[in-house]
């Protein structure tokens, strides 16, 4: 049995993973964080203790999924994201993939890689991921075509991914 503090600690460890699933449904970082916090509070109020990490995480993911869809329906009248069947498939992938340690290490690598971007590429990411603007808004601000901005976002993502993988590989070599 997990103590409540242990359950809380596990949810915190899994914050990025859970928020990453919620954002698939709500498509807003702030809203995803709100929902993650709701679920954390709900886990504390859960009458029965969780037997294992796996049980807790399965419960948390389903809870996040349902809460996220409810919130979107309440705000927008309907849910119009990926089909619920796909969400179920993704739930399984989120359950099965156990690379949280790598994801955790890669956060640091990603932070370093961000610093190596050009100011303008960072500006695009800043507008999109910090100010929460859509690609269309970013295009308007930077006086670019939306298609150019989405291509840039995709390519910046790829470049960052390459950089992260390279850094992880190098740190792995150093460790051995």
């Amino acid at each position: 049995m997990l103590k409540r503090e242990q359950a809380t600690a596990i949810l915190l460890e899994e914050r990025l993973s859970l928020t990453g699933f919620v954002i698939t449904i709500v498509r807003s970082y702030h809203l995803a964080e709100d929902i993650f916090q709701d679920v954390c509070v709900k886990s504390l109020l859960h009458e029965e203790l969780f037997e294992s990490r796996a049980q807790l995480m399965k419960w948390a993911r389903v809870c996040c999924r349902n809460r996220a869809i409810d919130v979107i329906r309440s705000r927008e009248g309907r849910y119009s994201g990926l089909t619920e069947g796909v969400l179920d498939s993704l739930l399984k992938v989120w359950d099965e993939e156990e690379d949280n340690e790598e994801l955790s290490r890669s956060r640091d690598a990603l932070a370093c890689c961000l610093k190596e971007l050009t100011p303008n590429n960072r500006r695009i990411l800043q507008l999109r991921y910090f100010e929460g603007r859509s690609g269309i808004d970013v295009a308007r601000i930077l006086k670019r075509k939306p298609a150019t901005v989405y291509q840039a976002l995709a390519r910046i993502y790829s470049a960052l991914e390459r950089c992260v993988q390279m850094r992880l590989e190098m740190s792995g070599r150093e460790a051995t």
Binding site: S80, L103, Q126, L142, R144, Y157, A159, E161
Partner: protein, 587 residues
């Protein structure tokens, strides 16, 4: 970052189309048909499912890193002084960048970030709060880029509207040799030498070089500090050359030109005309005289092209015409976005107070508590509440939260303001005597200082008054020295470039009249309509408590609002009212 590692090319690089689809899906701009297509792609391909998961987790990690960076300022990721217009080193084809020095491994940053996240969450858990709002972190202020060599920037604007140059906003580079038609409002230009020019509408101008402005019509105030001497303004009738000074120029439609020197000196040269030299004519009708400059000293003025003689003109020197700065006002706000890109919660607000910009995070603003509400006597066909599809149990939350899409709207009022003492007497009596309107109390007192002290946000649809709905603000006090103020012009208006839209916007409608907060809570709202198609924008205005008669430094705890429209006029639709904190010395 270096791109020359082809042996490490991950799967994602071969999936740019998929990546683009995901990027569009993430911000809600992917059409429904393409969402279906994306669903199919993911459903049928386990590798795509894994890739999608990785992208989503990387995405929240990016959000997280940027936010932690803003919170802790542990690394300079947020380019608050970068030039958004300068795309010279952006390679959209590769997303690649110039190789730069690899920074030090930032473990402290990571630990700090996780610790803060943990503290935030533990705080929520410990308090077991019913309000799950995320603590908003420091947001960057408006981006005021450092001017590039030879570039002239529009650094500030106040309700500025250009004809044919809608994209020119604060932070934009002003093109050389392009004629700008400023239809309304004010703009401030910054020249590379440090000279600043404030232009008033209506005006027609163009930047001819890094040191020269052409003013065809309109008013402009020029400040050329040390190092910017020699800055020139060309009008149809004269060339004004700065000699280290502040001066004001006004060119009327008929080209008649006034120059007032507020500080230092300025030389006036005459451009040659077919009929001779205008300046020479003014000096004594000597068309063939050698053009020599007229030097104007501090306190002197001249009018060119008119019939008055120069001595008369000098009597009309006006120091008041010169604008040293744009007026105190709400400059901009930043809001988080919903999945479809519309404004969600206010995250920060920038207000010019006492001539200086003050940026406050949402946490620093003083929230309000709704203490009274009463509609007009007739039922309100547009409803009293707006926001999400579901109405909360406590409608006051709609105004008290940080959401810019939720509000308490269409409360009562009348075109002319009531006597404040009489209104407060009726408020005290309450019940059927209570006046129509909205009463609010600040969660902590707002200290009155010069400039805006309170900011009101309103949702305004396309088709309603561009400048906002008029309203009265009353002090809640019996003091005879206090008065009401009627606001008819917002600071950020419908066509301000920085305002954000809200969509969807659900309007809750009832046939009943709300005479109190209790009525509002119990109101049946059988009709709930999404009115987002009317393109609602969130506009804002600052309220200066000095205008209500409060002394500087005085605490204000409550205010009362009424609409200022006739029976069929547009009533106020506030979605947020906040008090501003005192200006701290470190801002």
């Amino acid at each position: 970052m270096n791109d020359a590692h082809e042996d490490h090319v991950p799967e994602e690089d071969r999936d740019n189309d998929f990546l683009e689809l995901v990027m569009r899906y993430q911000d809600g701009t992917l059409p429904d048909a393409d969402v279906q297509k994306l669903s199919e792609l993911i459903r049928n391909d386990p590798e795509k499912q894994k890739l999608f998961r990785r992208i989503q987790i990387r995405t929240v990690t990016l959000h997280d890193i940027f936010r932690m960076d803003a919170f802790g300022r542990t690394s300079p990721l947020l380019d608050i002084e970068s030039n958004p217009q300068d795309e010279s080193d952006w390679n959209p084809d590769t997303g690649a960048s110039r190789p730069t020095k690899t920074p030090t491994h930032s473990l402290i940053c990571w630990i700090g970030g996780v610790s803060v996240a943990a503290l935030l969450l533990v705080g929520v858990l410990v308090w077991n709060s019913s309000d799950p709002r995320q603590v908003e972190l420091v947001q960057p202020g408006p981006v005021i880029p450092v001017p590039q060599k030879q570039s002239v920037l529009l650094v500030e604007e106040d309700r500025a509207k250009f004809v044919g140059s809608e994209g020119l906003t604060a932070g934009s580079r002003v093109e050389h040799h392009r004629e700008y038609l400023l239809q309304s409002g004010l703009v401030k230009l910054l020249f590379p030498s440090g000279a600043t020019v404030i232009l008033e509408a209506p005006s027609i101008f163009q930047v001819e070089s890094a040191e020269r402005l052409v003013l065809n019509t309109g008013g402009c105030s020029v400040h050329a500090p040390d190092g910017a001497e020699g800055f020139e303004v060309l009008t149809p009738l004269t060339k004004v050359v700065d000699r280290g000074t502040r001066f004001y120029i006004n060119v009327q439609d008929n080209s008649e030109t006034e120059v007032h020197v507020i500080e230092g000196a300025a030389d006036l040269y005459s451009p040659r005309t077919p009929n001779g030299d205008i300046l020479s004519q003014e000096q004594g009708n000597r068309p063939n005289a050698t053009p020599s400059p007229i030097r104007l000293e501090v306190g002197e003025s001249v009018r060119l092209g008119g019939f008055a003689n120069m001595s008369d003109d000098q009597k009309r020197f006006s120091q008041e015409s010169f604008r040293g700065q744009l007026p105190d006002r709400v400059v901009s706000y930043v809001a988080s976005s919903t999945a479809n890109g519309s404004a969600d919660e206010l995250t920060s607000l920038t207000v010019q107070r006492q001539g200086k910009n003050q940026t406050c995070t949402a946490d620093e603003l003083i929230p309000v508590q709704v203490v009274s509400f009463r509609g007009d006597p007739a039922p309100e066909r547009n409803g009293y509440t707006c926001g999400f599809h579901e109405k909360p149990e406590r409608p006051e939350d709609l105004l008290e939260d940080r959401k810019l899409v939720t509000g308490l709207i269409n409360f009562g009022g009348q075109p002319q303001p009531m006597n404040p003492q009489e209104l407060n007497s009726l408020r005290t009596q309450g019940g059927a005597s209570a006046p129509p309107g909205l009463g609010i109390r600040f969660r902590s007192p707002v200290v009155n200082i010069p400039g805006p002290d309170v900011v009101l946000f309103e949702v305004q649809p396309f088709g309603n008054p561009v400048e906002g709905d008029p309203f009265h603000v009353y002090p809640v006090s019996d003091r005879p020295d206090l008065k009401s103020v009627t606001i008819r012009q917002f600071d950020l208006i419908l066509n301000s470039p920085t305002v954000r839209g809200v969509d969807p916007l659900w309007s809750h409608r009832s046939q009943q009249v709300a005479n109190s907060l209790e009525d509002l809570r119990n109101l049946e709202t059988p009709i709930i309509i999404d009115v987002g198609h009317s393109h609602f924008q969130v506009i804002a205005v600052g309220i200066d408590l000095s205008d209500l008669g409060y002394a500087e430094g005085e605490d204000v705890e409550e205010l009362f609002f009424q609409h200022a429209s006739g029976p069929d006029g547009h009533k106020l639709d506030p979605v947020m009212i906040v008090g501003l904190p005192p200006v701290s010395s470190d801002r």
